[in-house]
Amino acid sequence: MKPGRLEFLSESEIKKIDALSLDILENTGIKVELKKLRGILRDIGCTVDETKKIVKFRPDIVQAFVKKAPREYILCGADPSKRWPVNPDTRVFGGLGTAVNMYDLYSGEYRQATLQDVVNHIILFDGLEHIVSSQMDIWPGDIPMQTIHVEAMRAWARHSTKSFGMGAYGVMPTQDMMEMTSLIMGGRENFKKQHPFIAIVSIQSPLSSVQIQLEGLMVLAEWGQPALMSPEAMAGTTAPVTIAGLLAQHNAEILAYIVMAQAVNPGTPVMYGTVSTIAEMRRGTVALGAIEMGLISAASAQMAHYYGVPCRAAAGGTEAKTLDMQCGIERERSMMLAALGGANYITSVGTIESTTAGAHELAVIDNEIIGQIERALRGIEVGDITMAAEVIKAVGPDGNYLMQDHTQKNFRREHYIPKLADRDKRDVWERGGSREMINNAREEAKKIIATHKERQLDPKLLMEIDAYVDSVKARSLEDFYAAEWES
């Protein structure tokens, strides 16, 4: 069986991109908006211009520090017996956000996202077999901004056995997330040994940074938690319009961030991330539903694996405003390309409108798309049992295979059996109410939410979690932002 792997770059093209990235890092450099971090980078031998905040990285430093990033680590759930190895050969799927608006699952109304949506989203992900991690994908508008992260973490502790994650935004929120995860996972030492939490570190393209993201990165590295270095470069606005140029630039950015994490704490688990795509050239806005995003994700996976680290790719994005055909086409194809390209953590589930809006039924649809993609990537097993020599001879001309043991024993593994897509004949379909796939997804989402059982947590732990959330609620928005370090 040949692995189903799509490659857009040749070996020599990978090396060309690598060479240009090293050239950019050495001669142009990256703007690092955090004094503390510039100091650490100076200590490892980088050239720092304090007035311009530009850090230049010698190629040998880049190469030496990128090598410190582990090739593999184990992602686990809030239930630590759930484990997913992450390395350049594995693949998990998670959510993508952040949706500030939602299509209401019950009324169909388009409205602001709420904390209840966050809870339902986490419940849903717990029940969908192909989805591993929620990424704080929904951003509710009915609670104070400074409490969203801790409310989400409380919901995760109470309702999910799977992994969790969110953006690393600032010292205080990231420390909150680390402290709460530590509580949930049974203490700091216990937590540091495992990785239930992954955080997306956003990169400001071109070649720059946002202070709160760097602060978050430092906190994560100190706690030894996986950091996903994720530029959202757009070909034509924040990156060269040409895809090769975008790849060289965002590769330089990602490498710089990996070096930063390793400089803070050698061995910090990372991912080579990408949310990069093309810009919409009529308006200069992002085009997450573009076919080129799949190309960029697949090529980025090749680059990541060249450096020996796993790759995170965003996929499933769409600019569609409703759950229409555009929404379906765009989400499926970027997920497929990212997966075929070998991305190892694909954040893709449940959003529309350039990830600013979502729908619970879409998560259920995405789960089915992922099941099909997983089936495609499992490929074709050629062996004694699957070649079916004896069965072919036994059935002979004009026979059929339906009543063969071989059929019964193998069909579940060989065929992906969809839950939502309809394959009935017209009469049967009409008798069932002429339902479209989205109706089936809606019903399934409602069923998962209605039948979900909260985890049985120790009452003492629940009280500690509540107390933490309350302490954060007591903060003012000014306090929340005041905690930042010097830029």
Partner: protein, 213 residues
Amino acid sequence: MGETTLKELEDAIVQMDADITEGLAIKLLDSGTEAQVILKEALLPALDRVGTLFRDGDYFLPDVLMCVKAYDNSFKIILPKLKEGDYTSRGRVILGTVEGDIHEIGKNILFALLEGNGFDVLDMGVNVKADDFLAKAKEWSPDIIGMSSLLSTTMPAMKQVIDTFTKEGLRNNYKFIIGGAPVSQRFADEIGADGYGEDAQSGVELVKRLLAS
């Protein structure tokens, strides 16, 4: 002992364990359990459970067919004993693919499902001429005659079969049902058939409905 084994036989059918059901049926008869009891308390409850699993989407056709095989292996053991008593089957059905057509998968599935639901079924195979349907009906006295066709070009052959029975004055002695990819309820109405099933499972429901009326 007898009680446990009835449950064992029921479970073996549901779990598609076709290799042990014959032995279990023999064991039950040997221990003095009556054939009627085996049928009513093991075989039929097993088929009900399989039907539910199928309807709920947990079981697929290959699973159901394997259950039917497991059922058959025990049913053939108790059948001679049943016939000594006051056993009557739930109904008699003849199936065949009409003249000019050699497709039979759908028909074969229906055959197995009907058997698995306790009907006596006779399969005439493929490319069956109208006169052959007539001759077999006279000989075997079915309640229902089922015809299938997969090619739209062979659909008219279904009408020929019904017309042949009509000419002989025998049309009303039997119920005619049809199935197959190109066939529809409208076509069934056009040719004067008594019913139409979209797929094998609907076919079973149709047979039950027609025999109940």
